[in-house]
């Protein structure tokens, strides 16, 4: 049951983009077309989940026992950078077309606040789902949380990409064209997602 609550909370209630403000830069940059948006979301989903698992293990078995938690920031970002490099190499071999489509955005996943943000949240925050006592997540819960969070990211991104494709054909006042109208659209989306608060 708790896994279900983790999933619902991560996708809707505390949507990483619309409520936690993580991962905004690529969100605004890649979302003008639905096809690139889905590709990007998939890559981000993979990196977030993998990175969370690896950094969780690193924290639990190396940093905490040795009392080196102050090295969290440095070690986590280096792990993420290495993982992204690996994903790039693998993707180039397996699917060169997707690799081309993602272009510059793939290495940019390293600087995606969402990846580092989720990794740090999982090892520092206490969670209390559905009346359970507050506790830190174990590896299984952390993995589900990371997976669900990236699904929420993908959901927000694809919704937004669809909206933007539509916006491109609308008559937008000159000063609003491009980013301003996109931001206002996201603001209204965020308002809509606010309606989910209190569910879990």
């Amino acid at each position: 049951m708790e896994y279900f609550l983790i999933i619902v909370s991560a996708i809707f209630v505390n949507n990483i983009l619309l409520a936690q403000f993580l991962g905004i830069c690529p969100f605004l940059g890649v979302s003008s077309r639905l096809s690139t948006a889905t590709g990007m979301s998939g890559a981000v989903c993979f990196v977030i989940t993998l990175a969370t698992v690896v950094t969780y293990l690193l924290n639990q078995y190396v940093l905490v026992p040795l009392g080196l938690t102050f090295l969290q920031t440095i070690s986590f970002i280096l792990v993420i950078a290495a993982l992204v490099q690996m994903v790039e190499i693998i993707l180039k071999k397996i699917s060169p077309s997707l690799y081309q489509a993602l272009g510059i955005f793939l290495p940019l996943i390293t600087t995606n606040c969402a990846v580092l943000g989720v990794a740090i949240t999982v090892v520092t925050k206490d969670f209390a789902f559905g009346g359970a006592a507050p506790h830190m997540l174990n590896l299984g819960q952390a993995t589900v949380y990371a997976l669900a969070t990236s699904l929420g990211y993908g959901l927000a991104m694809c919704l937004f990409a669809g909206l933007r494709e539509h916006l491109a054909g609308c008559d937008v006042p000159k000063a609003f064209r491009g980013l301003p109208i996109a931001l206002i659209t996201v603001g209204i989306m965020a308002l809509a997602f606010l309606g989910f608060s209190g569910i879990v």
Binding site: Q20, I24, L71, I74, T110, F176, L179, L183
Partner: protein, 194 residues
């Protein structure tokens, strides 16, 4: 000294928030009040100046293929130092900014200026650029925070001048996007006029 334009550039021509559109995550998340925006801007500026200086110093010696991991390590070091200093000497600000302090590492502004400026210019210019862009970022965050605070809580810099609650949506998630969007429109109009 013609080098001062590096500082003024950071406010208008190279304004990280409204022109370069970088560092969006902390911009939206930490501007719930003017003071929070100010604190976040100053924290980022601290890292920006130091990393610009160090990277401009070591750039000539760093092999091209490893420059990104090296820059990230340098930036992460300064962010960790900042974290420790804030935890020790400004615990209130440390708690308010929370997760976004370590996230300065992945703030596109810092890596962007390191990669796009500091590794091609001298120490003095890089420092000035760090100050300029840092100040521009701080100013933008403070302005956004001020607007959200006035509309959302009826106060400015903590001084409450409208009793009761404001339009709460502005201190919550949607408000951040909406205020940023509208301020960007104003900024663009101002730039177009010049």
């Amino acid at each position: 000294m013609s080098k001062w334009h590096f500082i003024t550039d950071g406010f208008v021509k190279n304004n990280p928030t409204f022109v370069l559109v970088l560092g969006m995550c902390p911009t939206l998340a930490t501007t719930t009040s003017a003071i929070n925006g100010l604190e976040m801007g100053l924290a980022t500026m601290f890292v920006l100046i130091l990393s610009n200086i160090v990277i401009s110093l070591i750039a000539p010696k760093v092999p091209d293929k490893v420059r990104i991991p090296v820059y990230i390590t340098v930036i992460a070091t300064f962010v960790t130092v900042l974290q420790l200093l804030m935890q020790a000497y400004t615990p209130a600000a440390y708690e308010t900014l929370g997760l976004f302090i370590p996230l300065i590492v992945v703030n596109c502004i810092v890596l962007g200026r390191a990669e796009g400026f500091a590794n091609k210019h001298g120490v003095g210019e890089s420092a000035l650029d760090g100050i300029g862009v840092g100040l521009g970022f701080t100013a933008s965050l403070t302005v956004i925070g001020l607007v959200r605070e006035i509309l959302g809580s009826g106060s400015a810099f903590g001084w409450k001048f409208i009793p009761g609650d404001g339009i709460l949506a502005f201190v919550m998630a949607p408000g951040a996007f909406l205020v940023l969007g509208f301020l960007m429109v104003l900024f663009n109009k101002y730039l177009a006029k010049k």
